[in-house]
Symmetry: C2
Subunit: 919 residues, 2 copies
């Protein structure tokens, strides 16, 4: 801080644009002064000063105190009262105020400047001793707590005791006779707990109060709040020193808070509360029930009218819903603070759209007003807030995990996916609770209201699937520990068994015992959201696609505004009990058939169709029969999904998953066999299990994530992709013949070398050509690849030669770029990396621009340098994350693809990115 | 091929530099003609023509036949004889000849131009009917085999029968009376097996012979040979058409091969063989035993003297050992071919160094003459070649796997690592045979002569460890299949049990039944290698370091010329039965201690030293006691290795391996428990196993390669790295106090974000500072990181801020860049990718320059742009691979680090790279 830095600004010197320097409160007070609003006079110590205080090892910068004194003298001259002047005392409020509102996190001291002598002068000023002594006891209470570390509860207890003794229930019912001994007892308590007396010198009070506000910037709750909300720790706080106004000086006085629109619905009506004969803290404490502010129209019509006028003025001036604090001192209105109001997502959307309708803001501003995640929160059920608060109060909050898919759900606990599926089908509301989920559990997941897992992160199977389904999900809830026999889990001392009821909030990660009522989004709210999103659509540059694997997903994506399917995963089409059995027949015979075919290159089984020759080995029969069954099933799947999407693009990814995902689990099989052996079971059963184990051993991998999957599988077992391409092209032929336009794009997963694409393109184009020729139909398909390992991005020039489009699979690309397995990282080190600031953000949620983003940039640049009109997008989880969408816009991608439920978020975020970077 | 392309060059038009166009044989024949050597006149059809032949779908290019005829007429005029002229016949040899010698792979036709009439004219020319008819039967035999696909064995059988009937043993003992019916029978056999007659028109013979040579470029054995040796398939072959000279025209005639130096030792003496009255093929067939060429000095002194002179001339002219074919026709010497001689590694090195000594070549050329791998093959034992050939002949070759670590070894089969270790210690020569190996097997590996595995690739555990140890190893030998009970394996119908003897060749991948004798490198050979390497050292730019984990490895590395240790892996120091037990105590308690320490931030256990307070929980006691034991062991390790290396740099990598590498195997434990449970074992035993299983479950990972390892472990469990840094610095202090200079470099593994380095540097530098202060010793250590995930390379600028050096860990970097798990890829898809040409090279052997190399380039550039003198090297398996070393030189790295046994290879390869790119 240089010599001539200005430490202090008077309200009259500042304005709203100086938020960074003066804090939100100081800047707005200054602005209101310049608007001519009735603000108690005062000045602001800048946020920089608090940082200097820390830089100096918690010492007041040289000259600051002199500047404070000088400004105090100006203030004294201004209001005609003096600090510590017994005859004409000036009392102060000293308030913190950061750049970004951190409500309740930092400290404020009111009624400062009072002592045994001054209180008498104040009493004369007020013409009433009670409010003066009330102010005195309030000062001791707050100053001791904030500046002297005396626990506030001590004073609460003394106050309670005195009220009881006086036979009153409300603070302001204590009369002077009651307050005098109370104040004495307060003073004694201060000495007892701090070893010091409350400073009696008002200037010393002021000095200590300023230091206490500086200190409160780094109190633990403020620190944690900033961490949670991602507010930098080096912003610092301003200190606002204002003339004290008194709402506790009788029935003509009072204090209140109002919102210029309803912060929970956004409806255009003044909404607020008022408490007569009280100071601001009384409203917060909730001891007396405040009146609706509208009632002031009855009791104080003039002040009410003035207040309504000022509220309107402020909303018009700030062009946003205002949250206004006011105090009435003996009939005179003062505005103590105004700020943009915190609001529900519904209110946020409605207010933005309404204001644009009213002409207060324009459509572009409306778009920028709404946080993309607010749109998402509109679309899912949530707990009734009162019911949730009651549950917390009742101690029913039994765990907290990682929020993975928003939405609230309540139901009966099931630990087994099949049982959950049965119960769900039978109409029961089910919460499936598992250590983790895997593709086998899909039936159970589909039939559940919500999923709770003890392991895994925000990109674990459970998280990804539920977000796709729009179901509530909490993962990595490490607090809950399963019993060995799997019959129950424990958490925070509570035992939860199958059949018990719990409620989970996928937006907060909270788990409750018992059922909490949920509320669903109101259709009216969604109307305004639809309006906002259509404005957004007009402004965004990025296309918005959805990841959808089924007809119903595709329909949902369409209804939420998706312009196509950016990722249709075909492995999901291989699941479900009947299909898995068929897939297993293919996989278990694939290696043998492949070997046989290599040895018998002249026998073209693939073209035999239904009529397989009798001479073929049994494995070949089984294999091709199963493959043909799968082909029929897939053709049907593709016909449906392509039918729904019509002339919009549908990017179909060929089989990606490693083989063992479709086989029984190794550990279970090993356990079975060991048990069968030990129990002396029939050798036949054992032999069969051992045969399966042999097959499994062959396909099991040390690192399946980096194993035999994606196009590697497609290359080494050619019939699988051949079957898939046949199903796609045949489905397209059917649709085209029935008069539909279709736009399929065949996507090869996990390419690491251009030669893989080259080989597959040659193979598959031939298959596609044959069918088109046979059917006499021309199918306008594209052929491209997912870029999900670094090498593909680094050699994108060569890969682009073989591709019509790229889709960055950012989930896997993040895993390979960081060398993090998402299945392992979350619980083991990733969460602590994020908490400790080693990673600024969770790279599985928001694209890591320096590493993964650099590869996207390189890949896009190299690909487009070869093919300027190469279609490039992303289809990872990041496609629904606003920061990632901003990155995608900046790097010039053509589209993002997200789960259907994130499509509205993506539409808004894409528009905001376009607006942000068009400036 | 354009209109005016020249199809044919006469020998007098060509020279040695035209090898690509004329093939090696044609270019050298041309060169010899220009040197005035006695070469039978002829001309060459260029290699391009053979490619055009294939491009045209196996059709002779337009105009070629006319050009051949024109050149034939020139040749006829030149030698004064005519093709097909019964009175004065010209016979031809038609020979293949590629750019790169592919001995015996393609076809040659001799004695062409003969028929029933011409043979009589030839007889007159020769003044002898026998050699003329001998030539005729040879022509039928070879032409039918090469151009008409009649199996050669048919003629061999007929020939044998006739010799028997004639009562002779040697071919040339057959007289005209024997030959006439033989020729008739040959002709009949041709018709019978091909349905056609041998063409009688000499011009038609010539046309078909040229086509047959074209065809032979792509015969299966030539194709496989090129694949094996990495020779491109689009080089093509030339066709040499030469006047036939006859070595079979009586005792004054003959044929032979000589080498200008001994091709197996490199000794400077003419070495060769001579067969009187024979054609070249007789020498190869080995029916008669040739004489040493020196004996010609007795029998034909003049010709011998001429031959010696020409041999010397050729070596001096070509400045390399020549392999010369010659024929003497009735006392007249003809040179039929000269080429650089194939030679053993020993000969290669000795000849290069000798020739430089003789002034024939300079030192730089000597360096370039020797293949880096030849140096390696000098250093390991190998099979006695005769003994190996006998074993093959006896059918003892029972399998072939992937060669993983060169060297030959013979011994007793053990399937269990512990039993192998016991037997080895007891003095038995052991071959350890396992499905695969893991760190638990290290004792068995150390005590074995060689390792054979049925799974895994060239970078599997077995391969990496054995290369480090210089032991023979074959991996991925999928032919061998283990019995379920593990008592034996089977391969090619043979059963091998524990206790049987086998021999393995780690350079070829061959597995033999029984023991084959091995020979060790001769010290004399190594003297010349040392000379060559010291010349190489003067010329290379790259530093050569070694990967070494023990004192003895380090000493070996030094003796092989390493300039420092580029990678000292500390996890190997955690192994061995006693140590693993201590490590397990650390790991099993780490999580609990870490939690306890977070809850008790005031208790500084680390600084309590030996005197741990009694109040601490038992886990903390166990943990710190074990940690302190490990610290002592590691300090001792470091003292030894740093002591050996003295003032040379030693890069010590802190613990990298995932925890579960030090725990029992999951599958075994699961099986144990299941068996215990089923057998109703005591609940105590079961409970203990289940407890271990619990711990294991927690550390087990879906993808350990991408899991909780490297610096992630070091960050989340701070005491482990703290212990290691204490051990390093304390060891350094001891050594410095005893007067030694040391140069330790602390390397952090698996960095993905600069913040990891930042955090660890702050933590560890503090620990190091404390010890230095306490000891009053200044330890000049560096602090740096391994770059082994793409993100570290992409953000190398930031990472360099925290690093004094980078070492690219190319093994893991290859895995993450490609998204290939090396444990899984090899058998499942990598081998077929390489065989099918999807990958041009095995990226785990040779750096993939486009992908992994691009990251090395980016990382080096970004790192050096921040710190121009950043020390950058590689320490993966690639550090010993010549092509990768060439890349490292080009990209400007400071050093490569390889296993000690590859250090000489690396020294030579680095020098060659420097020479190659200085031009």
């Amino acid at each position: 801080m240089s010599e001539d830095t200005k430490y202090i600004y008077r309200f009259s010197e500042g304005n709203a644009s100086m938020r960074n320097l003066l804090g939100g409160k100081g800047a707005n007070l200054s602005e209101m002064v310049s608007l001519g609003l009735p603000v108690p006079p005062g000045f602001v110590i800048t946020t920089d000063v608090s940082l200097t205080y820390y830089d100096l090892g918690k010492r007041m910068p040289d000259g600051l105190w002199e500047d404070i004194q000088a400004n105090m003298h100006l203030l004294e001259a201004d209001v005609g009262r003096n600090l510590g002047d017994v005859d004409n005392p000036l009392l102060l409020s000293v308030r913190s105020g950061a750049r970004i509102s951190m409500p309740g996190m930092m400290d404020t001291i009111l009624n400062l400047g009072i002592n045994d002598q001054v209180v008498e002068g104040l009493a004369e000023q007020m013409n009433d001793r009670r409010p003066a002594f009330d102010a005195y006891r309030r000062f001791i209470q707050i100053f001791a707590d904030v500046a002297m570390e005396v626990p506030g509860q001590i004073f609460e207890d003394i106050l309670e005791e005195h009220k009881e003794r006086a036979g009153v229930t409300l603070d302001h019912e204590l009369q002077v006779g009651h307050l005098l001994p109370l104040i004495d007892e307060f003073k004694a308590a201060v000495v007892k707990h701090s070893g010091r007396e409350i400073p009696t010198d008002p200037w010393e009070q002021l000095r200590q109060a300023v230091l206490a506000v500086f200190e409160s910037w780094n109190n633990p709750r403020a620190f944690q709040y900033r961490d949670y909300h991602g507010i930098p720790h080096d912003y610092g706080t301003a200190v606002n020193i204002m003339t004290m106004v008194f709402g506790n000086t009788g029935p003509d006085s009072g204090t209140g808070v109002l919102f210029t629109r309803d912060p929970s619905t956004g409806a255009r009506r003044i909404y607020g509360e008022y408490l007569a004969n009280a100071q601001g803290e009384d409203v917060v404490a909730g001891v007396r029930t405040p009146q609706p502010v509208a009632q002031m129209n009855e009791t104080h019509p003039e002040v009410y009218e003035q207040l309504m006028g000022l509220a309107q003025l402020l909303e018009t001036h700030y062009r946003d819903i205002q949250d206004v604090e006011f105090t009435i001192e003996q009939g005179r209105l003062f505005i103590l603070q105004t700020r943009n109001a915190a609001r529900t997502p519904a209110a946020s959307v409605k207010a933005a759209v309404d204001m644009a309708g009213e002409g207060l803001i324009n459509q572009t501003e409306a778009i920028q007003r709404v946080q993309p995640d607010e749109i998402n929160r509109l679309l899912v059920p949530r707990f009734d807030q009162q019911a949730r608060a009651d549950a917390v109060a009742a101690g029913s909050l039994i765990a907290r995990g990682t929020p993975a898919s928003p939405g609230a759900a309540a139901g009966t606990v099931y630990f087994n996916a099949n049982e959950a599926a049965d119960a769900g089908r039978a109409g029961e509301k089910v919460i499936l609770v598992r250590p983790e989920t895997n593709p086998d559990d899909i039936n159970g997941i589909l039939q559940s209201m919500g999923i709770l897992t003890s392991r895994g992160g925000t990109t674990s199977h459970a998280a990804v699937v539920t977000r796709g389904l729009g179901k509530a999900c909490i993962v990595g809830t490490e607090e809950i520990s399963f019993s060995r026999d799997g019959s129950h889990f424990q958490s925070r001392g509570q035992t939860v068994r199958q059949g018990d009821k719990i409620s989970i909030d996928g937006a907060t990660g909270e788990v409750f015992l018992g059922e909490i009522g949920t509320v669903s989004p109101d259709l009216d709210e969604l109307d305004e959201a639809r309006q906002l999103l259509s404005w957004a659509d007009d402004r965004r540059k990025l296309g918005i696609m959805a990841n959808a694997d089924t007809e119903s997903d595709a329909a949902r994506a369409l209804s939420l505004g998706a312009e196509g399917i950016g990722l249709c995963r075909t492995e999901h089409m291989f699941l479900g009990p009947e299909r898995v059995a068929v897939v297993q027949q293919v996989l278990l015979n694939a290696a043998e058939v492949e070997r046989w075919e290599r040895e018998n290159p002249d026998v073209d089984v693939a073209s035999m169709g239904e009529a397989l020759s009798e001479d073929l080995p049994p494995a070949v029969h089984t294999y091709y029969r199963a493959l043909s069954q799968l082909e029929q099933l897939q053709e049907d799947d593709f016909r449906k999904i392509l039918g729904v999407m019509g002339d919009r693009p549908v990017i179909i990814r060929l089989l990606d998953a490693p083989l063992h995902e479709f086989l029984p689990r190794y550990e279970e099989l090993v356990r079975n066999i060991a048990e069968l052996r030990a129990s002396g079971a029939s050798s036949e059963t054992l032999a069969k299990d051992e045969e399966i184990l042999d097959l499994l051993e062959r396909s099991r991998e040390a690192n399946p994530m980096l194993g035999h999957r994606g196009c590697r599988l497609g290359i080494t077992f050619p019939s699988i992709y051949r079957m898939q391409i046949k199903a796609i092209i045949a489905a397209c032929c059917d649709l085209i013949e029935s008069g539909l336009t279709v736009q399929p794009e065949v996507m090869i997963p996990l390419t690491s070398h251009a030669n893989e694409m080259n080989l597959l393109r040659r193979r598959l184009v031939k298959v596609a050509d044959d069918i088109q020729k046979e059917r006499g139909v021309d199918v306008p398909y594209k052929f491209g690849t997912m870029i999900e390992v670094p090498r593909a991005a680094l050699t994108a020039g060569e890969v682009a030669e073989e591709s019509d489009f790229f889709s960055f699979g950012t989930n896997d690309l993040t895993q390979t770029t960081f060398g993090y397995s998402r299945d392992d990282a979350e619980g083991k080190f990733l969460r602590s990396y994020i908490e400790d600031g080693i990673l600024p953000l969770d790279p599985f949620v928001t694209i890591d621009t320096d590493g993964v983003g650099e590869l996207i940039r390189i890949g896009t640049e190299k690909g487009r340098s070869l093919k300027p009109d190469l279609e490039v997008g992303i289809c990872g989880e990041h496609g629904g994350d606003p920061d990632s969408i901003d990155f995608c816009h900046r790097v010039g991608l053509d589209y993002v693809s997200s789960s259907p439920f994130r499509v509205p978020v993506a539409r808004l975020a894409a528009a905001q990115a376009a607006l942000r970077h068009s400036k």
